[in-house]
Symmetry: none
Subunit: 163 residues, 2 copies
DNA sequence: CTATAAAGGTCAAGGAAAGACAAAGATAGA
DNA sequence: TCTATCTTTGTCTTTCCTTGACCTTTATAG
């Protein structure tokens, strides 16, 4: 025994949509009812997956149209250097762990922070590390996140390690 | 404990998880309820084993997700340098800003952390960021420092690892 | 122009799984 | 013994997933 990985339906739908986006080089267009039929689930399940995994915070633009011939279009948006400042400005005064991780995921995916730093920041923002009651915890987390990103983007990578 | 006695349930679960980690070459993913069922114990027993034997201090990173399809992922950290492990063990439960900066200075001087990460960590540990009263602040700072160092030394530079 | 059908949107309820924590039981040491 | 620490369980909380009922928008047939 040893492999009993039982991915949730939402995970499978996420993978499917990701493959569509990859195939379409950043753009995918789906029909909610059709995909729901594919996975034999409620149509709103598709809405849930999109809301929880392809949100604007995660770097996607969602367009849709109802009625006959309706669709949902997902567009993966790339961060430009300029936008990093905007993203940082957009970080509120209180940040949940999930929100913080979303920011970091995105920055890593877009190649703005390296893997190692990604894990370092993630560690510092964990609720298991910031051991205190809400809402102070979310406030401190926001501070730490901003301070770390600020420090990161105001220091060039050192080429000491010879890469 | 003498060897004529039965190992405790916690010990058996520990062995089982260790075998999974060995099998997965450093990574294991379990479902708490499932393992609890295997050993016929309360699910929280699994949490106890993880907390007491696979803690970050012992060199593991724990990730988890609740809800349907939930899981607990254990990642064994390979701290190559014995010195670093000793240094990290030496970090107490409360760490002042000066102490934290001293640790970081030393790690940077010895070439264990790169400049950029040095500044990122320093930012996260500043008393201007950890806005709270003593002694909680020094406690949180200790947590953050340990977590960041742990994450840093468990990920190779410029290397894809992790989910 | 209107009625109808064909989409997607919203939301709340219920279920599933891990987390937190306290209390009780077991064990080892002084 | 007595006490501190480690184990084990049980209960309640939080987070995430899934569905279903109802609503709004859009296309199109008549």
């Amino acid at each position: 025994m040893g492999r009993w990985e039982l991915p949730s339906l939402a995970d499978m739908i996420e993978d499917y949509i990701n493959s569509l986006i990859a195939e379409g080089e950043g753009v995918a267009e789906i029909q909610r009812a059709f995909v729901a039929e594919m996975f034999r689930c409620a149509p709103s399940q598709i809405s849930y997956v999109i809301a929880s995994r392809f949100s604007p915070e995660k770097g996607f633009i969602i367009e849709s149209r109802r009625g006959g011939g309706g669709y949902i279009r997902l567009i993966r948006v790339n961060l430009e250097e300029e936008d990093i400042r905007k993203l940082m400005k957009g970080i509120g005064e209180y940040v949940s762990q999930q929100e913080a991780y979303d920011y970091l995921d995105r920055l890593r995916d877009e190649g703005y922070v390296d893997d190692r730093t990604f894990f370092v920041m993630k560690a510092a923002l964990s609720r298991n590390v910031l051991l205190m009651a809400l809402p102070s915890r979310d406030m401190i987390r926001a501070n730490v996140l901003k301070a770390m990103l600020n420090a990161y983007f105001s220091h060039e990578p050192d080429d000491e390690q010879g890469e």
